[in-house]
């Protein structure tokens, strides 16, 4: 490996030996592509003309007007996921791979991978927990419409973490022809670094947009954290600024119980899916089951850079409960005419509290995805 892949004590490359050469190949392809003008031009072209970048920065009119929304919900595909699947898709082409595999929870990353598979001409296989396949039939159909094959995973709890296990198993046997298009800034090196770099565009745009609109940097930047890719993408260009960075985890039914996905707030150091990071686990080290109203935050580990940002004190992490997120979802719909994803509603829930406590502060919120996928669920919960 050319980079250390470490963020303080976190990160690393904890995979079976057989996968190390595949990760070394990926790191080399990524680092070479970063400085290859042809790659950069092609990716920028796709981001602009296929995905619809730059995305707007919207200042709230009826919610507190010191809240600025970075509108990744308006990206093609409906979420920030598109930024990095395009990057990894082009890398897979560059490495001569013919097949993409991916894991998905509720289906958002699976849909994004199916999209890039169709666009760039890959055979695409998406692993999805059997439980999630049942709950998210529409997203399964979306993936199939774009030519992907969805494989229900019956092992373990039959949800996201089991889908990642299965994708890693597939990759152990298929890496010569297959790229594992991991969906977030977690997993073994080089994924956390690579996914951050492909998502960095969110913060880069937002930083210059808010300077243009407001004439200065924001006081706080707020994003939801599941695996942590949209948050790290938004934070990356603000790391050296005197700006508070706040990650919002899923507090689920409450942080005092066990039904949440608050890995950084309630987890302890461990090793899962290839990285040393915070993990929700029991005293033996068995991985815990998680809960959140939003599938995208329902994950028992977190990207290793967030673990380091927490320990170093550079970023703060807080929780928003299911109920708080749902209230923010509703407030945004009523106040601004925007339906956001339940994940993004967690960030907004905290921003609303902050905006009230600090009316003079400018608060930048990552609105990571649109809410179409959650509308039916919301109907059930709000009725």
């Amino acid at each position: 490996m050319r980079l250390s892949g470490r963020f303080g004590r976190y990160g690393g490359c904890y995979v079976p030996e057989i996968l190390v050469p595949a990760l070394e190949q990926l790191e080399a392809a990524f680092l070479d592509a970063q400085v290859d003008p042809a790659f950069v031009t092609e990716l920028d072209g796709l981001l602009a003309n296929y995905a619809g970048r730059p995305t707007p920065l919207t200042r709230c009119r009826n919610l507190p007007s010191n809240i600025y929304l970075k509108r990744e919900d308006l990206l093609h595909g409906g979420a920030h996921k598109t930024n990095q699947v395009l990057g990894q898709g082009l890398l897979a082409q560059r490495m001569g791979k013919r097949r993409l595999i991916a894991e998905t929870g509720a289906g958002q990353h699976g849909v994004a991978t199916a999209m890039v598979g169709a666009l760039l001409g890959f055979e695409t296989v998406v692993y999805m927990g059997a439980e999630d396949v049942e709950r998210q039939k529409l997203n399964v159909f979306r993936m199939e419409l774009m030519g992907a094959r969805v494989v229900p995973v019956e092992s373990g709890g039959r949800t996201l973490k089991d889908a990642i296990n299965e994708a890693l198993r597939d990759w152990s046997a298929s890496f010569e022809t297959t790229h594992y298009l991991l969906g977030t800034a977690a997993g073994p090196h080089p994924f956390p670094t690579m996914v951050r770099e492909f998502q960095r565009v969110i913060g880069r745009e937002a930083r210059s947009q808010i300077i243009e609109q407001l004439g200065r940097l924001p006081d706080a930047v707020v994003a939801c954290v599941g695996g942590g890719s949209n948050a790290i993408g938004l934070f990356a260009d603000f790391l050296d600024d005197a700006v508070r960075l706040i990650g919002v985890e899923a507090a689920g039914k409450g942080l005092d119980g066990e039904e949440h996905g608050a890995t950084l707030l309630r987890g302890t150091a461990g090793t899962l899916h290839g990285a040393e990071t915070y993990v929700l686990q029991d005293a033996d080290g068995q991985i815990a089951d998680t809960w959140s109203v939003s599938a995208g935050l329902d994950y028992p580990a977190v990207g290793p850079q967030h673990a380091h940002l927490k320990d170093s004190g550079r970023a703060f992490y807080v929780g928003a409960t299911d109920a708080e997120a749902l209230a923010a979802f509703k407030a945004l719909a009523e106040g601004e005419g925007i339906l956001c994803a339940f994940e993004s509603a967690h960030a907004l829930a905290h921003a609303l509290k902050l905006a009230e406590a600090e009316p003079e502060s400018a608060i930048l919120v990552g609105l990571s995805g649109r809410g179409d996928k959650d509308v039916a669920h919301a109907q059930g919960l709000l009725a």
Binding site: C13, V15, E17, I18, P21, L168, A173, G270, H273
Partner: protein, 262 residues
Amino acid sequence: MTRYSAMFERLAARREGAFGAFLMLGDPDLETSAGLLHAVVAAGADMVEVGIPFSDPVADGPVVQAAARRALDAGVRVDDCFALIAGFRARHPDVPLGILTYANLVVARTGFMRNAAEAGADSLLIADVPALEAERFGLEMAQAGIEPVLIAAANTPDATLERIAKLSKAYTYCVSRAGITGTHSAGEFDARLIRRLKDAGAPPPVFGFGISESQHVRSAIEAGAAGVICGSAVINCVSNRGDVAAFIGKLKDSTRNESVTQ
């Protein structure tokens, strides 16, 4: 002399390969598991490799995953596994026993390695710790008195094999083809990997994935392996209520292939 080196020396003198049986500790329950550990040795296994069940075993195929799930569902804890190992050690003072498990279990619990060594385990293979990350674990294992085992695969570059040689003891767990445990049908064993490991000065090569028939055992030994470990096929035999003694006896016989004498 360690239990492993004594075993390899004794078998080499008899021109035999080592036969290792893999079992998941606590599968399907503690009592049955204790009986099986003894049964595989009585049936001819020269060494025993045991899994400590982990909730998210990414290097394991369906058979070993299911075994871990059964053990966890039965409420088996890491301490129970050490107790099983201690029971085995009291009954079989000379048979090498190695642990295969995952990093999160080793790190989550202070004293994992010391407890494993005290229970009588000889080696520890952490499936998701490649040579790249193994140094820190190796130092802790040396302090605790347990031997590190690392995996070498056909696609592992020479520089990594040299690192494996430096960092590991006991034996080298060899994988000849890509994949996870229990998913290889045909026995294909890479004599080139064995030669490269010997050149690097690595501990004795033992093939681990894809051993389910006598022919596989013979091919592995012919390719130059010091032994084989049979996992999924043993677990399958147990869970299908097959004749474990006969199955292991047959595979052990295949380590006495006449080609070994050449």
